[in-house]
């Protein structure tokens, strides 16, 4: 799994690429929590996530909770079909704000 962080207008955008599983989710978790600590809204680009398991989902949930507690927005962007299936199975597709594109996400967050 690789990741990329971009400071954008109104939000920190973090992109993951590859599998987020038990092996890689600790790293993903660290990246996500770091982003939340920047005291900015966070958008997670999941278009190139090839696989996510419960530990990856847990990292998302934990970061989402931290952001909410800090009064920050936290959303998912362009979720790949594979990842969306897992979120739906976990009934989390209704919990996370999910945006079709990064532009939509940025528009929503700044709006």
């Amino acid at each position: 799994m690789r990741h990329e962080i971009r400071e954008s207008e109104g939000a920190v955008v973090v992109s993951f690429e590859g599998d987020i599983d038990l092996d890689t989710s600790p790293a993903a978790r660290k990246v996500l929590l770091d982003c939340v600590r920047r005291k900015r809204s966070v958008l997670v680009d999941m278009s190139r996530v090839t696989y996510i398991d419960s530990s990856g989902v847990a990292s998302l949930v934990e970061s989402f909770q931290n952001a909410r507690n800090a009064g920050l927005r936290f959303g998912l962007v362009a979720v790949s079909e594979t990842a969306l299936r897992v979120l739906k199975l976990a009934r989390l597709d209704l919990v996370f704000p999910i945006h079709a594109t990064l532009e939509d996400g940025l528009a929503q967050i700044s709006g």
């Binding site: 092996d23 847990a58 949930v61």
Partner: protein, 569 residues
């Protein structure tokens, strides 16, 4: 004092009495020589001759030896040429004769008279014949009647008496040979019993090694053996001694004993066979040698290490039914001494997967079928394939039954041994799609998902079904790593995928402390807490999930089932 006079009135019953007495004597006696002596005495007296002798041809038919005599001169043990004298002529012509005056007969041999000082005047001689066989002759010398002449009646009577004596001799020889044969048979039976005791006791399923030996004769030149080591590995062997009969059986016993004794301390088949080779070389005789396969099965790793010394290539049949022959990589044992004591024969490694390894002697491949054809390796292969669904030991029996159907004596000893690969870890139905062992490390999961996706693709799973099952399997593995092994990276996980009709069966085995299934719960979805989500995902995706009693009652065995080919929910 004329006792003979066979033609005389009132004497008709006497020859009959004599014949009856002699027959009874022959029938009841166990000592042929004594009985013959008594018979010669009776005949000589009855026919009123001065002396009588019974000559028998030796085994070569070149000499006539006197086995019994009656009269003033003892010539027992006297040896004549088979053509010498009146008796020789009688034996060669198989015809009885009367010689009234030996001095007028050029065939008379005077050497005996010269030796003994006896004077022969007349001779009555009759051959000892049974059917076409002439055993010798009875000769009477010097009729004691007034005219000193043997009569035609004397000759007839002597011929009759000779025939019955000859028959008695043949019977006695036959029963003696039979007794001897019985003794040999009893000894062979004992040898066979000891040989059978050298074979290992059959072990019930699920023990993975089974053998079978059917000697062509009473004893066998083939052998097989197997035994367990303390660490759970199983040593096995099958061998065939060159040649047949008791000498092959003895070398078989020696080799099998060496294997059993040395195999307990030498666990590398290549080195073990090398040591046995040198032992046999030290004492082998008559160019005898042994072809032999020795192997060690590690049931945990499901692997076999094998050394083959000049034996018929063992056949490995994989789970899909394909065969692979494992050619010998070393010459037979007992031919060439290895110079260095630590030298080892080449070894081959074989992963059994869900297949089986078959060892057999050439008595199987060269066995005759009812139409006279030879069974050959192809015959074994097709029969093993026909009976693929039977338990391993029954598959061996099926091969032997086929050879026995020919209803002919076996050409050679028939010996078979099977080493079965690990069966499914918890399921007997369906076909195996995948079997992988991996350590309890998160890093392994990606490889596992990749293997699962390839296996499921080969089973014609739809894209979304595959994706869901990969998720469930990965989640289940994750649970084992985290909750069963508590993140110990050295645990072992076995994953097996099977397909049974429209059901994909997933079996996951671990060897950690047994988990109480009631403590494993799905997450309450209302709570937005991490953890427990994996179980929820598995339950969402799979149709059935259950913990089964693990084999050997250690660790855990999880079975998940998904029906495929339906519209994904």
């Amino acid at each position: 004092m004329d006792k003979s006079a066979p033609e005389a009135n009132g004497s008709v019953t006497r020859p009959l009495e004599l014949i009856a007495t002699m027959a009874a004597d022959f029938a009841s006696s166990r000592d042929l020589e004594t009985t013959l002596s008594r018979a010669v005495a009776r005949i000589t007296r009855h026919l009123n001759a001065a002396s009588g002798a019974l000559f028998m041809l030796d085994e070569t038919g070149e000499e006539l030896r006197c086995h019994a005599c009656y009269g003033e001169t003892d010539i027992t043990g006297l040896v004549l040429g088979a053509r010498e004298g009146i008796v020789g002529r009688c034996v060669q012509g198989r015809r009885g004769e009367i010689v009234h005056d030996v001095n007028e007969d050029p065939g008379f041999y005077s050497g005996v008279d010269e030796q003994t000082g006896f004077t022969t005047r007349s001779i009555l001689c009759a051959p000892l014949t049974v059917r076409d066989q002439c055993l010798g002759a009875i000769e009477l010398v010097n009729k004691l009647s007034d005219d000193g002449k043997f009569s035609e009646g004397d000759l007839h009577l002597l011929q009759g008496l000779s025939s019955s004596a000859a028959l008695a001799i043949v019977n006695a020889r036959q029963s003696e040979a039979l007794l001897k044969q019985e003794r040999v048979n009893r000894e062979l039976e004992l040898a066979a019993e000891i040989q059978r005791s050298l074979l290992p006791r059959a072990r019930p399923e699920p023990f993975p090694v089974h053998g079978l030996n059917l000697p062509a004769g009473v004893v066998s030149g083939d052998f097989y053996d197997f035994f367990e080591l303390d660490d759970g590995r199983i040593c096995f062997t099958l061998g065939d001694v060159s040649g047949k009969g008791i000498n092959a059986a003895l070398l078989m016993a020696k080799t099998a004993s060496l294997y059993r004794a040395l195999g307990k301390t030498i666990h590398e088949p290549g080195r073990l066979l090398a040591v046995i080779n040198n032992e046999i070389c030290e004492t082998a005789t008559r160019g005898m040698f042994v072809t032999m396969v020795g192997g060690v099965l590690d049931p945990g790793k499901n692997r076999v290490c094998l050394a083959n010394a000049g034996h018929e290539p063992p056949l490995y049949q994989n789970g899909a039914g394909d065969f692979q022959a494992l050619e010998a990589q070393a010459p037979p044992l007992g031919i060439l001494r290895l110079d260095r004591a630590d030298q080892a024969l080449p070894e081959q490694q074989l992963s059994l997967e869900e297949g089986s390894l078959f060892l057999f002697s050439d008595g199987v491949t060269e066995g005759a079928l009812e139409d006279g054809a030879t069974f050959r390796v192809e015959g074994i292969k097709s029969l093993l394939t026909e009976n693929a669904c039977l338990p391993p030991a029954d598959r061996l029996n099926a091969v032997v039954a086929r050879l026995r159907r020919a209803n002919k004596p076996l050409r050679d000893d028939v010996t078979l041994l099977v080493v079965r690969g690990r069966e499914s870890i918890g399921e007997v139905t369906g076909e195996g799609l995948l079997r992988v062992n991996f350590p309890s490390r998160p890093h392994e999961l990606r490889k596992v998902r990749w293997a699962v996706s390839r296996a499921l693709a080969s089973a014609d799973c739809a894209e979304d079904e595959m994706r869901d099952m990969i998720l469930a399997i990965s989640e289940a593995c994750q649970n084992i790593i985290r909750h069963a092994y508590h993140e110990d990276p050295n645990g072992e996980i076995v994953l097996e995928l099977r397909r049974d009709g429209d059901r994909i069966i997933v079996l996951l085995r671990d060897f950690a402390a047994t988990v109480d299934p009631s403590e494993i719960k799905g997450r309450e979805l209302e709570q937005l807490q991490p953890g427990g989500l994996g179980v929820h995902l598995i339950n969402e995706v799979m149709d059935e999930t259950a913990f089964l009693p693990p084999p050997g009652n250690s660790g855990n065995l999880l079975r998940m089932i998904k029906r495929i080919g339906r519209k994904a929910s």
